[in-house]
């Protein structure tokens, strides 16, 4: 993604550029979108190269530093910029490592869900009949469950841990792209070139994957980026309820949860990880809105 962005930004040809390139150029022409994309990218770099950026070992406890305040307050230290949590761990380092969990879960869940959703949505929308009835009913049923309750119940069933957390989110998340793809497919299947391909005797697989899919991908990508933000908040909420990744792995949601009991006298323990969630999710939301504005033909002049 970042490579594509760079290339698109470098290429300045306006006349005969591909629609994709033009969309990217449109996206980058908005200052707000560019800044937010840079923030998201910054978080990704931070997460990937966490050991390079984190000033301390995120899991190193030191009870003598318990609840040490941030550097600008009395008792703060430069090595522990944002202060320490109840076990004397460096909050900044834990936020940096926590970015790994948030970003990984956000991207992985949405990627998996989108793949499943595309397959199911294409099948339902193109094949119609019983396939559609079964898939659509399943989607309706899953939509009937509140997201958090569904995830909590699933984690209670499967036990805690990263893998089960991912599964619990994917099981429900795929419904979103599936509904979208199904709707788009229903519309696309009546379009001329699809009918032409069918008349020429193209296989169903060919039509679905080669004719329809490329033409409905744009909205799917736009929705997926928004969903990444959504999933990050969901993961944080589950961690907040104590159902996220297991300790000592730093996760923003559980950092907020662990710190809330100290809020009265040590406000920094929960405030900074919460700010991190806000910043990343906000950046993703702004960027994806920019993407939508750029990719949605309705917004082109």
């Amino acid at each position: 993604m970042s490579g594509a962005l760079a290339r698109a930004a470098g290429g300045g040809k306006m006349a005969d550029e591909s629609p994709f390139r033009r969309n990217i150029r449109l996206f980058l022409s908005s200052r707000l979108s560019t800044v937010s994309a840079a923030v998201v990218l910054g978080f990704v770099v931070l997460a990937v190269a966490a050991p390079l950026f984190a000033p301390q070992d995120p899991n190193e406890t030191d009870l003598l530093r318990r609840l040490q305040p941030p550097v600008w307050m009395a008792g703060g230290e430069w090595g522990y910029l944002l202060g320490c949590d109840a076990l004397g761990r460096d909050i900044l380092s834990r936020i940096i490592y926590g970015a790994r969990i948030s970003i990984f879960i956000g991207i992985f869940v949405v990627l998996m869900a989108t793949c499943i959703g595309i397959v199911a949505g294409l099948a339902a929308g193109y094949l119609r009949g019983w396939t559609d009835v079964v898939i659509s009913r399943l989607v309706d049923i899953l939509l009937g469950f509140p997201y958090l309750i569904f995830a909590i119940a699933l984690i209670a069933m499967m036990g805690p841990g990263l893998q089960n957390l991912l599964l619990a989110l994917v099981y429900k998340e795929w419904v979103v792209p599936c509904r979208l793809v199904r709707g788009e497919t229903l519309a696309a299947r009546e379009v001329e070139y699809v009918e032409a391909a069918r008349a020429l005797g193209a296989s169903r697989r060919h039509i679905m994957l080669r004719e329809i899919l490329p033409n409905i991908l744009s909205p799917v990508i736009v929705v997926s980026t928004i969903r990444v933000a959504h999933v990050i908040i969901l993961e944080a909420s589950l961690s907040f309820l104590g159902l996220g990744v297991q300790p000592p792995t730093a996760s923003w949601g559980s950092m907020v949860a662990d710190g809330r009991s100290y809020m009265l006298e040590s406000w920094w323990v929960s405030t900074f990880p919460g700010l991190a969630i806000l910043l990343l999710v906000l950046a993703i939301n702004v960027a994806s809105q920019g993407l939508r504005d750029a990719f949605d033909p309705k917004f082109h002049d």
């Binding site: 609840l67 300790p247 000592p248």
Partner: protein
């Protein structure tokens, strides 16, 4: 519609808001009662609330001694027969006297299968082998046991007497929301999940003769306000919204003490904390590895820093206040180098990978311990689980277990070794999560269990505790203090080791 509205207005005119009264006592409490039926729950916090509206035949004084409450006396007739005589002026909240028939009815409700609307009381197993209750006269009853059971009076403190007439009139579910007790307070209103409001019962007989003053309650109104969030509960106390909070987090102590209007009250708890080590299979089958765990943990540091000093280190399972405590146990002191060398001798020079199970309440302490263990080469992954998952993993009664380490606790309200030593250490007993099995040790416990001579009995337990500490099936940690935040205007509140909140004499001046 309009007519209805007018009549509503009229009704509203009568029900003016109750002004904040003097003599009102507000408690910020962690959890709501599940039910108000004293016989239809299995929940300590529920009982704490209920007990202020219902009295029992006996109760405990502040030294945890069993003393009569509704009873004038509880007499042992023979090994299986106890006689109770009810106090003369004791009445239910409707003014009707409490009779031996109510005692009989209470025990039937507690022990008969299907007695509560076709369901059996979940408290049945806390009553003991009660066979029947004979009514001698209006105020005297005899409780007959199937088999001798010396702990009967201690367990009798857990049960409250209900009114036969009221309960039968209300039907099976009636007591779950309505109260006809004999305690110092009557129920006014229960707003589920939010508040329980009680008011003084002016006809109160005065309660236990062993707990003066024998008078009606000091406060006119008592309000339990449910505030589950720690920070909110502390904030409510600091702001003067409540006069008493339970479960004060240790880190808030200085804040509560520094506030001119609030203070901290503590009481020695009776709950021992320890780490169970799976002695059946894996590395912890080796005693040296188990000892290494104790050497790797700086218990005093955790007590000082995380618990703000509100704990007492233990070297065996018994609390320092317990009967038969061995005061000369060897200490497996903090010594990471020794821990590493023990590991090396046991054949793990490069350390081991283990999982430390914990319930969410102890997560912070588990993480602190996990990181200390990791430093000593016992690379620990903390895993927060729910009770049910942990029970599957750490099966007792001789069934195989699958865990490595489990930080847990066991309460011992009676402070008698029987309540904690036998379940956690006797071979295949119900709380023996470590899988400790030592025939010689079992024999000592069994001998102590039937030894009538107090001094000899204590000596047997001391010997047993030394043996257990040497075998190190558990890493013994500490006994905690229970912390309460109180308003400085609150008088007459004495916290109790069993976690009950007795509000009879408590009042805000």
């Amino acid at each position: 519609m309009r007519k209805r509205l007018i009549s509503l207005m009229a009704a509203a005119a009568i029900s003016v808001p109750v002004a904040v009264q003097a003599g009102e006592l507000r408690i910020g409490y962690t959890t709501d009662a599940l039910t108000l039926d004293p016989h239809n729950h299995r929940n300590r916090t529920t009982q704490t609330i209920i007990r202020n509206m219902y009295d029992g035949l006996v109760t405990r004084d502040s030294n945890m001694k069993v003393v009569p409450q509704l009873a004038e006396y509880l007499k042992v007739i023979d090994k299986t027969t106890y006689e109770v005589k009810l106090q003369a002026g004791a009445t239910f909240h409707d003014g009707s006297p409490i009779t031996a028939e109510d005692v009989k009815y209470t025990f039937e409700r507690l022990t008969k299968d299907g007695a509560i609307g076709g369901k059996t009381s979940p408290r049945k197993s806390l009553v003991g082998p009660v066979k029947r209750v004979d009514v001698i006269d209006a105020r005297t009853a005899r409780i007959i046991l199937e088999t001798p059971w010396p702990q009967f009076p201690a367990f009798l403190t857990l049960h409250e007497i209900v009114s036969k007439k009221f309960t039968e009139a209300q039907g099976a579910d009636g007591l779950s929301t309505k109260v006809m007790g004999s305690g110092p307070f009557k129920l006014v209103e229960w707003r589920k999940g939010d508040l329980i409001i009680m008011e003084r019962y002016d006809g109160y007989y005065g309660g236990s003769p062993a707990l003066p003053p024998q008078a009606k309650a000091c406060s006119e109104r008592v309000i339990f306000k449910i505030i589950p969030e720690n920070a909110s509960r502390v904030a409510a106390l600091l702001a003067g919204d409540v006069d008493l909070i339970n479960d004060l987090p240790a880190h808030a102590i200085s804040q509560v003490k520094n506030n001119p209007n609030t203070d901290v009250v503590t009481v020695n708890g009776t709950r021992s904390y320890f780490i169970a080590m799976n002695s059946e299979t894996g590395p912890f089958a080796d005693k040296r590895v188990r000892q290494a765990v104790s050497h790797a943990i700086d218990r005093q540091l955790i007590i000082d820093r995380i618990m703000n000093g509100n704990g007492t280190l233990i070297d065996g399972i018994l609390s320092p206040d317990a009967f038969g405590k061995n005061k000369n146990l060897p200490r497996l002191a903090y010594d990471p180098a020794k821990a590493k060398s023990l590991m090396a001798v046991a054949g793990y020079p490069n350390g081991i990978e283990v999982v430390l199970d914990v319930k969410s309440e102890l997560k912070e302490i588990a993480e602190a311990i996990g990181s200390l263990l990791t430093k000593a080469g016992i690379r620990t992954q903390v895993q927060v689980g729910e009770v049910s998952q942990l029970r599957k993993k750490w099966r007792t009664k001789g069934k195989p277990k699958t865990g490595d380490l489990w930080i847990t606790s066991w309460g011992n309200g009676t402070l008698d070794p029987v309540g904690i030593f036998v379940p956690t250490h006797r071979t295949d007993d119900r709380g023996n999560s470590a899988g400790y099995a030592n025939a010689e040790f079992d024999a000592l416990l069994d001998a102590a269990g039937i030894e009538p001579d107090t001094a000899k009995r204590a000596a047997l337990y001391q010997k047993a505790e030394a043996m257990a500490t040497n075998d190190a099936p558990y890493a013994y940690l500490w006994v905690t203090k229970d912390l309460y935040g109180v308003s400085r205007r609150l008088t007459g509140f004495r916290p109790s080791s069993d976690g009950r909140i007795n509000l009879h004499d408590a009042c805000v001046k």
